[in-house]
């Protein structure tokens, strides 16, 4: 059990962490190491989003050897396997217990306001004051549904990734899955296997094999340093932060789930969902190019890996280099789909997520509602954010990415607290 906090409703603390997921807990651990007083506020229980906002079959995209947090790692027998959600929840709960994290569960933050120094944090269970704030409330709070969803006829059932659990909950009939990141492909495969014909609307995507030259692709991304690439070293960090999750699936067979695998199973590929007009869905004619871009990009990554293997003379590699068949696109890809024909009964939006900052009453959001930050250091005194895509490194949004980010950002917070303490002492002395 994690240490339960018995404080008064109104508390004052040096650092307040919002969210007891892997990011918030990693930060808590490193603050504890620095003897910095802090509390974690959690709207539900530890690992809440993993418990309540994921579909049944989901497994991590990263192998178990990568599941590690500061001072803690996966210790089971299957290093190359992928955790199911129940295992992820146990892993994070075990971590909370191991670190004796000061979690206040069932505490929903309703607003955060700036004070002259620090922040006032209102919750359903009273008010807190803090000098510094860690926003670790997740990157996947709100499923994004494009505006075009409003134009769909009412008899078409629409679901987001937060609604979907498994195919049995779906109506009979065809399903249009919109989105071609890991989630879109995984669900297209699972729903198609349930006997419901699936059409997949494909936008820009990231293709990679699950296993390359005998090892998990994550291994190569790790050893070549790709996962550690820093946010201030990439050409266009805004673009890098918007890149969809790679088309991967965690399975026992370590299978590769790409568009070719799906179309071989009978899933129909279309371009990006571009519009709805007169009861017809319109697909973009740009399917060939998004596939070409992804194929070229995958080959560049494989070139990097092959280059690393020959440069280091890596003896661990037993299999020769190879390249995969280009993504197959129909000679006449479908551009429209008549909804009155009954071909589609459900539309599943796998179109990404956005964090929910509706409670954040600090002028730190950009015009698209994202926190303005420099490698996690928000544009507000003593505020840091964690767990967002490419926050500080390519691996930032993965469980194993939390450690390095928390180390950097806890150091920043320690300095901030020292500095502001110094100032107040000087002011008191004057």
């Amino acid at each position: 059990m994690s240490r339960k906090i018995a404080r008064k409703a109104i508390g004052t603390v040096d650092v307040l962490i919002i969210g007891a997921g892997h990011s918030g807990l990693a930060m808590s651990r490193l603050l504890t190491e620095r003897c910095i007083d802090h509390v974690i506020l959690e709207r539900g229980e530890v690992a809440n989003s993993w418990k309540t906002e994921r579909w049944d079959s989901l497994k991590l995209l990263t192998p178990n050897w990568q599941s590690r947090l500061p001072g803690f790692a996966y210790s089971g027998p299957d290093m190359d396997g992928y955790m199911r959600m129940s295992e992820v929840i146990d892993f994070i709960q075990d971590y909370a217990d191991f670190t004796r994290a000061p979690v206040m569960s069932g505490t929903t933050v309703t607003s955060v306001q700036p004070l002259e120094r620090g922040y006032r944090v209102m919750t359903n269970r009273g008010e807190w004051r803090t000098r510094a704030l860690v926003i670790a409330s997740g990157a996947f709070n709100r499923p994004l549904v494009p505006a075009v969803g409003d134009a769909l006829p009412g008899d078409i059932k629409q679901l987001t990734l937060h609604d979907y659990r498994n195919p049995e909950h779906l109506a009979e009939g065809g399903v249009l899955v919109v989105g071609s990141s890991a989630s879109g492909l995984q669900l297209a495969a699972e729903i198609h296997a349930s006997g419901r014909p699936v059409t997949l609307a494909v936008g820009e995507h990231v293709r990679m094999p699950r296993v390359y030259r005998g090892k998990d692709i994550q291994y190569w991304m790790h050893v070549t340093g790709l996962l550690d690439e820093c946010y201030d070293q990439v050409d266009d960090i805004k673009r890098a932060r918007g890149v969809p999750s790679p088309q991967l699936i965690g399975s026992k067979e370590r299978r590769t789930l790409d568009l070719n695998a799906l179309s071989a199973e009978g899933v129909r590929l279309c371009g990006r969902l571009a519009g709805v007009r007169d009861g017809r869905i319109q697909f973009s004619g740009g399917l060939r190019n998004v596939c070409k871009l992804a194929d070229l990009k995958m080959n560049r990554m494989l070139d990097t890996i092959d280059g690393w293997i020959s440069a280091t003379g890596s003896g661990e590699c037993t299999e020769p280099a190879r390249r995969y068949a280009p993504t197959r696109v129909d000679s006449t890809p479908r551009l429209g789909l008549d909804l009155s024909g009954g071909e589609i009964s459900t539309v599943l939006w796998a179109t990404g997520y956005r964090p929910d900052y509706s409670w954040l009453e600090v002028p730190v959001l950009d015009r698209k509602g994202r926190i303005r930050h420099d490698g996690g250091i928000a544009d507000a005194p003593g505020m840091v954010v964690m767990g967002l895509p490419y926050l500080r490194r390519r691996k930032s949004s993965f469980i194993h990415g939390a450690e390095d980010d928390a180390r950097d950002l806890s150091q920043h917070l320690a300095r901030f607290l020292d500095l502001t303490t110094g100032n107040s002492l000087i002011r008191m002395a004057v």
Binding site: E204, Q282, G285, G286, K292, L293, L296, N299, R367
Partner: protein
């Protein structure tokens, strides 16, 4: 002994483009452009169109000169063939847009271009425009673009140039995705 400094010059000022991108990121209003064309019927199927002004960077802008375009239909449609057909002008727009994109991306990636040629072909079943078969659409059945590029780069890098150019092309987007059109008519 000669040493040659490799200077990549495709005649595209990438620094200016990147500078504009940076500046506009902080000024979303300045990024709101309006493109315009005016036209007048010139008898038969001949139309004369003009492009001169546009709006951008928060104010009215003017091309260095007014550009005129004649569109008509070929003689086999019993027209006088004074200009390209409007559908051909669409292809001209696509060629111009993709090629400009190839040049800009090449400059940004340090690739010297020697020649960039495009051939575009777009099949059309004119049963649509003639109203013979309502199942046939008026527009192109598809568009095929063939690029032939001579540059100091690998085959793969050249393919990547063209792919990136499509990704950032306005005309590619206009043709491949639907756009709402509002036609307002007034008796003069």
């Amino acid at each position: 002994m000669q040493t040659q400094e490799m200077v990549i010059d495709n005649g595209v000022n990438v620094e200016a483009l990147l500078g504009a991108r940076e500046a506009l990121t902080e000024a979303p209003a300045a990024a709101q452009f309006k493109w315009r064309a005016t036209s007048e019927w010139a008898g038969g199927t001949h139309t004369r169109s003009k492009v001169e002004n546009f709006f951008g960077l928060g104010e009215e802008q003017k091309h260095r000169q007014a550009f005129q375009y004649d569109t008509d239909h070929p003689e086999i449609f019993a027209s006088r063939d004074i200009g390209a057909t409007p559908v051909e002008v669409v292809l001209v727009g696509l060629a111009g847009c993709l090629t400009a994109g190839v040049a800009a991306v090449a400059q940004n990636r340090g690739i010297q271009l020697r020649s960039v040629k495009a051939t575009i072909e777009a099949p059309m079943d004119i049963y649509g425009i003639l109203g013979i078969d309502s199942d046939v659409r008026n527009g192109f059945e598809n568009v095929k673009v063939y690029f032939e590029i001579d540059a100091d780069a690998s085959e793969q890098d050249i393919e990547a140039l063209v792919a990136q150019s499509q990704k950032r092309s306005a005309v590619f987007d206009i043709i491949s995705n639907p756009t709402d059109i509002d036609v307002v008519t007034r008796k003069s």
